[in-house]
Symmetry: C2
Subunit: 142 residues, 2 copies
């Protein structure tokens, strides 16, 4: 499995903690709470291997990865009840396939526009991240 020594999704630990709170693992992915929570419930689903885009994995791997993304999205709809989830994969500078799953609430922050990468406005304390992670794990059965 290809991993990168400077990539937070590959190395986890401190590199990941800078922006994310690890919830756990699904078959092909890591589930990570995005620490910036201007959109309550915002999560990243990162592929387990250091590949750049979906075009770099096989059909079977892609099917499994999007099954994971879908599973997380369904859990988010149930737990956070957003009016819509936005799905975005950017990472121009890095090369690690991941999607931001961003719950949007009608009339609230950034409703009707693409979400900013990081508004740097709203952070929780560690206990609140762990509570959220625990709820998500329970919903995902992990």
């Amino acid at each position: 499995m290809v991993l990168d020594p400077n990539c937070g999704y590959c190395q986890k630990g401190e590199l990941l903690d800078e922006f994310g709170y690890l919830v756990g693992e699904l078959e092909t992915s890591l589930v990570i709470i995005f620490r910036e929570q201007s959109h309550p419930g915002r999560i990243i689903v990162a592929y387990k291997e250091h590949v750049s885009e979906m075009v770099d994995i096989t059909d079977e791997e892609r099917n499994k990865y999007f099954a994971d993304v879908n599973k997380v999205a369904k859990a988010m709809h149930k737990l956070f009840q957003p009016d819509k989830i936005n799905y975005g994969a950017y990472g121009d500078g890095g090369s690690h396939l991941h999607f931001h799953l961003v719950p949007k609430y009608e009339g609230e922050f950034e409703w009707g526009t693409p979400f900013a990468m990081n508004p740097k406005e709203t952070y929780l304390d560690e206990a609140a991240y762990e509570k959220m992670a625990s709820d998500i794990r329970k919903e995902l059965g992990i």
Copy 2:
């Protein structure tokens, strides 16, 4: 099949022409050139049915849809040779599953940041859209 009378992806024609140039159809999707071409080669892959998100379709439909998205992304890499493709699904106001596939070029417009929904800066003439559409059709075998 669920369609909506006010949705450009459902009705095509004038509603779609306002922002897109129809390339053609794949098994589960429409392939559409986004008329605003600040990112040369920007394309939309819209699901054929009026559903809001991937969570609203079956596993089999999701696999087929992302196979289409992947096919278009591979064609874009070949034709336009971007350094990265961004994939974004928003549509807070509408309810029709579609992804924007946005080629990014190192050092060029919006490199390293999420793409704007519509910069409203760069438009082509109809012959140029048709030339691009023709190249994409050839690459997709449609």
